[in-house]
């Protein structure tokens, strides 16, 4: 009886599948914005195998993959919706709901869990893990090589003295050593003041501490109102006294770039570097 039920189930699943390449993992679902972006970068070899992307793929506040994936492609939420797509591989992260990850494992769906989002090295590692899981190692190597080539070009452009101090300050939350911001700041020729003050990872500081550090640049996030945001932050009590506010060093970067852990990190390098004294108009 069990064999009949299992056989019927497998037959139903097989009938429900579209014609997919037989090599590697045929049906992929992403539950992470980073994977939505990177699956696209891996190229046309991978695109037809993606049967679902994360619900935030089209949210311009967080994603660099807006408009890339067809609107007809599924954006599943929860284990049930993911399982209904009969995937061979689901890409999750450590912050994906624990219940969803457990349910997928119980159903027997293979998952690739990405963990650790601390800068350029983690980016390269994650691309490698995805490419390995999809049997597209060459595409993964190419994607990382493109990233590194652009990074090298930007580093060269922003090399040289001086190395002004910068703080990424999001209403108290700052990024210290071992973060993607620290890597981006260093690549743009800046010194991460939070890291210099012994902060590792992300933590919260008071505005008094920010003012006492007196950085030359303060990076904040914005949506569509970046210029207004820079003015608003520069006028705040206390912050108005910092060198950043007095010398036009408040830099508002769109949130989907600033919080990116993918290739979007290069845009942070580009925008930050463009504000260096020798590059400012």
């Amino acid at each position: 009886m069990i064999r009949v039920v299992l056989g019927t189930l497998l037959f139903t699943i097989a009938c429900g599948r579209d014609a997919m390449p037989r090599t590697g993992t045929a049906r992929i679902v992403s539950q992470v914005v980073f994977a939505d972006e990177e699956l696209w970068h891996l190229g046309p070899e991978v695109h037809p195998r993606v049967v679902g992307v994360s619900p935030m793929a089209d949210d311009a506040r967080y994603s660099d993959a807006v408009g890339l994936w067809a609107s007809s492609l599924a954006r599943p939420v929860g284990a049930e919706a993911i399982a209904a797509l009969t995937p061979d591989l689901v890409i999750t992260a450590e912050f994906t709901a624990a219940e969803t990850r457990a349910a997928l494992q119980q159903i027997g769906i293979r998952t690739l869990e990405l963990a650790g989002w601390n800068g350029f090295d983690d980016y390269r590692r994650h691309v490698g893990e995805i490419a390995d899981a999809l049997d597209v190692e060459a595409a993964g190597t190419r994607s990382v090589a493109e990233f590194d080539a652009e990074l090298a070009r930007l580093r060269e452009r922003f090399a040289g003295e001086p190395h002004p101090g910068v703080v990424s300050w999001q209403e108290g939350a700052v990024a210290g050593a071992g973060t993607s911001f620290a890597d981006a700041a260093a690549a743009a020729g800046f010194v991460d003041v939070a890291a210099s003050n012994g902060i590792v990872g992300h933590t919260t500081i008071g505005v008094e501490t920010l003012v006492a550090w007196d950085p030359e640049y303060i990076v904040v996030s914005c949506e569509d109102d970046c210029t207004a945001r820079e003015r608003e932050i520069a006028a705040r009590p206390g912050i108005a006294a910092t060198r950043a506010a007095k010398q036009g060093g408040i830099v508002a970067i769109q949130a989907h770039h600033l919080y990116s852990v993918g290739a979007g990190m290069l845009e942070v390098v580009r925008q930050l570097g463009a504000r260096r004294p020798e590059h400012s108009p």
């Binding site: 209403e171 006492a212 550090w213 945001r229 608003e232 705040r236 009590p237 206390g238 108005a240």
Partner: protein, 336 residues
């Protein structure tokens, strides 16, 4: 000197000393002369907002200390009035739903991204929420003189606003940045509060304290029962309306400027009533002073020792076990 007056003097001295400590400590290379210079320049209106020392002392620390004192006084004073109005020492100003009303409108503003227009937006929205909650409560208070009905209406209003806030958060569940902003605001904080916040909070809280003190005698009469109170010229319905208004001004003003802070409004007046008795003429101001001192001590400690922990978390964390200890201490003499 009466025990109430003596305690009042002691608390005033402690508040002044704590205030000096709070202004004197913190990040930045500032010695005593720089701090005194910044305060002196600020007092005569010759401060320079673009000077780092003046910014730290006069634009951040001094207004923050004053806002903390105001909020502590408002919450504990509001608690004393609430407990008097409902004749229940376990009543908390939050039972009227004012703080949750303020929180709901503030969270709605955060969801819509209105807070990005400036740091004054969220306090204004929270004050609007508190005012709306007050309007609903006043409409109810004008229809009934029964404080139990008023209490239950406040609880229902608070539950509705709490549920609506949860609903907003659930609908925006995929916006993690919003979740962080809302959580920070709901935890209660004095981070970055400046003169604008102080002036904005001083008006409703000052009015609330004056109104509360003007009700002290009537609240004493209310403690003897509705009939006795009426015979003494304290109409329960009128007292209810005024008491609700004063609590709304105090809690609404405090919540608007600092977010939601728990337990001060419950524990402080409870302790003061335990030590000094239930006469509101001393209960309200001593509670206000006590609340101000405790909140300033907590905020100064969190500011210096750990910038990551907002004071609202500490007041709740310490408030609950402290309240249990007080209840046990009060129960002990009775059993002997």
């Amino acid at each position: 000197m009466s025990p109430a007056r003596r305690l009042g003097v002691v608390l005033t001295i402690v508040a002044a000393l704590l205030g000096i400590v709070a202004i004197g400590v913190g990040p930045g290379d500032l010695d005593v002369s720089k701090i005194l210079g910044a305060i002196g320049r600020g007092l005569v209106g010759r401060d320079d907002p673009s000077d780092l020392g003046d910014a730290l002392v006069w634009w951040l620390r001094v207004p923050r200390v004053l806002v903390v004192l105001l909020v502590g006084a408002a919450l504990a004073g509001g608690g004393a009035v609430t407990q008097g109005l409902f004749r229940n020492p376990l009543a908390d100003p939050s039972v009227l739903g004012i703080s949750l009303g303020a929180a709901f409108v503030a969270v709605l503003g955060l969801l819509m991204g209105l807070d990005r227009a400036g740091i004054w937006v969220t306090p204004v929205l929270a004050a609007t929420g508190a005012a709306l909650a007050l309007a609903i409560l006043l409409a109810l208070a004008s229809r009934t003189s029964d404080t139990t009905t008023l209490l239950l209406a406040g609880v229902a209003l608070g539950a509705t606003c709490g549920a609506a806030t949860t609903c907003v958060l659930a609908l925006a569940g995929d916006r993690y940045d919003l979740g962080i902003r809302v959580m920070r605001w709901l935890m209660g904080s004095f981070e970055g509060r400046s003169w604008g916040h102080f002036i904005g909070a001083a008006i409703p809280i000052g009015l609330g304290l004056v109104l509360a003190m003007s009700q002290a005698r009537d609240l004493d009469a209310l403690a003897l029962g509705d009939d006795v109170a009426a015979s003494l010229g304290a109409s329960p319905r009128r007292v209810g309306r005024r008491a609700v208004t004063s609590v709304a001004l105090l809690v609404g003003g405090a919540t608007a400027v600092a977010g939601v802070l728990g337990f001060l409004g419950l524990v402080v007046p409870h302790v003061v009533r335990w030590r000094l008795g239930g006469a509101h003429r001393s209960l309200i101001p001593i509670s206000a002073l006590g609340g101000a001192v405790i909140l300033l001590a907590v905020d100064t400690w969190t500011r210096v020792a750990t910038e990551a922990l907002p004071p609202g978390v500490i007041t709740s964390l310490l408030g609950a076990p402290a309240f249990l200890w007080i209840l046990l201490a009060q129960a002990r003499p009775r059993s002997q």
